[in-house]
Structure formats: C-alpha cells, structure tokens
C-alpha cells in the first residue's frame, strides 16, 4: 500500500514512484497494489497506476494535517492489513511514519533507497549519515513500513490511467476530535532571484566553514553572472536566504550546469539537483556522496580552486 500525497488537487510525482515500486513488490508476492487516498475522491483519477484506491473523505483531510492523516491512515491499515506501507521520506513520511510504526506495530526503515525480498525476507537499504553509509536492514514480521527517498524508484507505467477500483472507508470518529487545525497555507517567498530558472548555479555547502568565506563564492557567481545557491546547512546557519536553498526542503533545480563547492551530497540535497545537465563537484573528501552523481569532480580545496576560477573567468 502506498500513501498518496497531494497538494492543491495534484498527486505528487513521488506517489507514482512509490506505486511503481509497490507494483513490482506486489507482483513478487502475487498481491495487489493499493493506494490510500486521504481527501477528495476525485483525485483517484490520477491514481490509475494502482489496482485499488482506498479513499477516506472528511473536511479535515482537504489538505495535509498530521493528526487527521494519522488517524485516517490507521483506520485504512486496520481494514486493509497491507503487507507493506510505503511513504515518502519527506515531510509526510517523517511526520507519520514512526508514529504509525508504534501504533500499527510494524517495524520501519527510513531513508530507503532500495527495497526488495531476499529469500522471503523484506530487506531495505537506508542511506544514513548524510549518504555516507548504506545500512541494509531486514524488516521482520508480517507487516512493515518504509519511508522512501525521492527519486529512489522510477514511476510506474500506467500513470494516470484512472482504471483503479475505488473503495470507500468511513472516516474514524477521531477526525471530529482533533487536537490541531490548519490555520493557513503559506506560499513560498518569491525572493530576489529565482534559482530554479537559472542556466547555471554556483552552489555552496558546509565546506565553506564561515559566513565571511561566502564572499569568494559570491565573487565567482558574479564573475559567471549566475546566482549563488546553497545546501541546507548554509541556509540554516542564516548565511543565505531560504530562497537560495537547493534540495528536498528547498527548491528542485535543473540548470545546464551545477557547480557544487563543499557540498557532501546528502540524499535530501541530491534530490534537488540530480536533474542538472552537468554537475561539477569540489570536495576535499574523496568519499563524499556528491561524487556518486557528479559528472566531474575534484578533491582540490575550494579555497585554492575558487580564486583560480575567478581569475580565469575574468580574463
């Protein structure tokens, strides 16, 4: 079973990736692919790549609301008893996965990059420690939960066919006694530059060490006439605005060239920039995960390399 994620009437791309994987595993088990759709039934039209869509409708499910989703999903799990629940390892999965693991009494694997059956055992591979280590774990028992990294699997074939059987599940009483409510949906700030529209980005990560050091990166970005973007630690430190953040909680970018300096390449970051046509990474750690997706890499220190680059671009 896959939990469908949707916003503003649109089912996410990640949901189809999970359905594709669920279909593959269901084929191994000889079972069906079900999707839990919490919210408007009309969205089932976009879930044609599933066999069955299990729908719970309630006013509290119009947009994502943690407690409402958890109660509704628990009801669906109790009624359908799936072998495996797949969720995104983004906000919804980070929010609900572990709570459902306790309440549905099923082991959970997070940061999942690979998933399959090995001699009857369900085995997940988790990317931990910022992608530096792969932990292969077995999920014992008759049911399990996996929260899956974006881009780990490709979307299934029958996307959007609209041929799934639809089953309605009555909303549980807990949805009328929630301890939280959605006040408003806040659209992202427009910001001074749109990094998602740039042809090329100079992007900087934790390796820059201090805010003062950002100056040499800004100099390179200026010389190239492109925006300066960053990975999460630089934004969390308050050195660059949120609008410059590339990654799962920032923006997804697909520039013609992405120059990454001092970025290790945590899975959340890779999700935001893996679509770039050319990725050049500079990191002194030869084991940095960024080199696993970069086209070109160097372990030269960025503090030695960047001034040389500025020099050459200027001349």
């Amino acid at each position: 079973m896959v939990l469908a994620e949707h916003t503003a009437g649109q089912v996410s791309e990640g949901t189809h990736e999970l359905i594709g994987k669920a279909a593959e595993l269901a084929a191994v088990l000889g079972g069906a692919t079900e999707v839990a759709l919490l919210g408007p039934r009309a969205l089932a039209d976009q879930l044609g790549d599933a066999d069955v869509v299990v729908c719970v409708e309630h006013p509290a499910l119009a947009e994502y609301l943690p407690e409402a989703y958890e109660e509704a999903l628990l009801e669906v799990l109790a009624q359908r008893s799936p072998r495996l629940l797949l969720m995104s390892n983004a906000t919804v999965g980070l929010d609900l996965g572990s709570a459902l693991s306790v309440r549905w009494e099923a082991p959970l694997a997070a940061y999942v990059a690979a998933l399959g059956f090995d001699d009857g055992a369900l085995v997940a591979t988790s990317k931990i420690l910022g992608g530096k280590v792969l932990a292969e774990v077995e999920l014992p028992g008759e049911r399990a939960i996996a929260t899956v990294l974006g881009g780990a699997f490709s979307a299934g074939a029958g996307e959007g066919g609209g041929g799934a059987e639809i089953l309605g599940v009555a909303p549980p009483a807990a949805l009328d006694a929630l301890r939280m409510s959605l006040r408003r949906v806040v659209e992202p700030d427009a910001g001074d530059v749109d990094i998602a529209a740039a042809d090329m980005l100079v992007s900087v990560g934790r390796g820059i060490e201090t805010q003062d050091n950002l100056e040499i990166m800004a100099e390179l970005a200026d010389a190239l006439g492109v925006p300066l973007s960053a990975s999460r630690p630089v934004v969390d430190a308050g050195w660059l605005p949120k609008t410059r953040q590339v990654g799962q909680s920032g923006l997804k970018v697909k520039p013609r060239a992405y120059l990454a300096f001092g970025i290790s390449g945590a899975p959340e970051h890779l999700e935001g920039m893996r679509g770039a046509e050319l990725i050049v990474a500079c990191n002194t750690d030869p084991g940095a995960p960024i080199f696993g997706i970069a086209h070109y890499g160097t372990t030269v220190d960025l503090f030695d390399l960047v001034p040389e680059l500025v020099d050459r671009v200027h001349n």
Binding site: V102, V186, A281, P286, L305
Partner: protein, 264 residues
C-alpha cells in the same frame, strides 16, 4: 510552560566511518561525536520561546550517548534552565555497538516524561544515524500526544502553539496545535545561538547536571541490521586532478564548451 528538549550525539560527518568486525554496525570507539544538528535547531527554537517569557527549558540526554555531558553543559550555557542525563535503571542495559535504537530512546524518554510531564517536547526532526525512524513521532505515539514534524517555527498561542510545517519547494502550513504536544524541528526561526567556551567551562565547574534513572517499558522490535556498506562514489564522476590552476582550467573549459562561459 515546561519545554523538554531531548538531545543526542551523532558521529561527526567529517570523520572516516569504519564498520564493526561483523559488518552490521558502525565502529563507534574511535569516532568523534557531536550534537545532532537538528537538535541544535530544536534547542534554539525552545530558547526563543523561553526568551518570550514564562517558559522553562529542560535539556535531556541519554547517559550512554558519547559526549552527552558536553552537549548538556553547552545547552545550559546557552540558557537552558536545567539539564538531565537519563540512565536506564534496568540492570545490564547498554547501548550496544550500534547506539540506541529510536524505539528504545523513545521508551526511555517516555518513562521520564510520564513521571515529569512537559507541556511541549521539542526535538530535532531527525538524526542522520537512525535508519529506524525519527524520535519525535515515536515518542508522541508512546505518550498519545499530537505531534508535528519538519517544523520551522513554533510560537506560543493561547493554550497551544502555532507551528509552521514545511513542505518541498518552500510551501508551508501554519498549524495550531493544542498542548501538550511533540514537535520535530527542521530549523529554528534564527540560527542557533553561540555559547562562548568560557561560559561552558563555568557551567561545567558549577555542576548542575542532574542524572535520573528511569525504567522504560520494553521497546517494540525494529528493523534488524544485516550489513553496512560504503556507497559507490567512485567510478561515476571523472576526477579532475593537478594543481588548483590546472583544475580551474579544466572546469572553465567544460563550461566554455557548453557556451556557459564566453571567450576563446
């Protein structure tokens, strides 16, 4: 309002990671441990709430975590009102080579919070070394409390809190959550404050770190480690070598050949 901030240490990501002899865990003996960066954000958010008045902040760590004393003293130096190191009262319990699973950590904290309830529990949204889930929702489920993760701002609001929950692409939801509740923080409203070494030394010499032994319920079984692997990072990127100048020449040529840099 009493805010409890569970904190943990994690391997420093700049360190070379080695595996245990049986290949199922990380060799922790030689590793340097630092505060989980999301817990640093959570502490900052709790201290921001404290700055607005009427709030007591208690930092809590598990006694078996490496460097936990240093982390808790630093929290005191930053302005936490109290710090507590939790020990497992059951004889023979230990962290084991892989550290404490999320379920066991949550069980320990739940035992503490059932004894000394908090209005709000604020912790880091995740820890980079937990393949078995996240602490805040696990703890909330054990305590039967509402919870919100991936929070980027928490503010007092009547008999609850307003929480900003962030989604991909910078979209966020503003939620009202009744207390008590558990929040998993992605990032604080401002960068974590700094505590000078001299002040951390002062708090250390003043003591003030409490230790409490609690008896947790048996945690639920989680995933079973099979093996650890280093991801293949070599073989994909073509490595550019030579002096910084040589590498710069090659990068500029790559961009030039794609028409992204003018000249020659």
């Amino acid at each position: 309002m009493r805010i409890v901030v569970p904190m943990k240490s994690v391997p420093d990501l700049v360190e070379e990671i080695e595996f245990t002899a049986d290949g199922t865990g990380i060799e922790r003996e030689q590793l340097k441990f630092v505060l989980n960066e999301w817990d640093a954000q959570a502490l900052e958010e709790a201290l921001l709430l404290r700055d607005s008045g009427g709030v007591e902040v208690v930092a809590v760590g598990c006694a078996v975590d490496p460097e936990i004393d240093q982390i808790l003293y630093t929290a005191l130096a930053k302005g936490a009102d109290a710090a507590v190191r939790l020990a497992d009262a059951r004889a023979g319990s230990s962290s084991g080579p892989a550290g404490i699973p999320v379920a066991a950590r949550a069980a320990l904290l739940a035992a503490y919070l059932e004894d000394q309830p908090a209005d709000l529990v604020i912790s880091g949204v995740q820890a980079p070394d937990d393949p078995d889930g996240q602490l805040p929702p696990t703890l909330a489920a054990l305590l039967g409390l509402p919870h919100v993760s991936v929070a980027v701002g928490v503010e007092a609001d009547g008999d609850g809190v307003t929480v900003r929950q962030e989604f991909a692409g910078g979209l966020s939801h503003e939620l009202w959550v009744g207390l008590p509740a558990v929040i998993g923080v992605q990032s604080a409203r401002q960068a974590p404050r700094y505590a000078p070494i001299s002040r951390i030394r002062q708090t250390m010499s003043a003591g003030g770190l409490g230790e409490l032994a609690v008896t947790p319920r048996e945690p639920q079984g989680g995933p079973v480690p099979r093996r650890m692997l280093q991801p293949a990072t070599t073989g994909h990127a073509e490595m550019l070598t030579g002096s910084p100048g040589d590498v710069a020449d090659q990068i500029v040529e790559l961009l030039r050949s794609r028409g992204l840099v003018k000249g020659e």
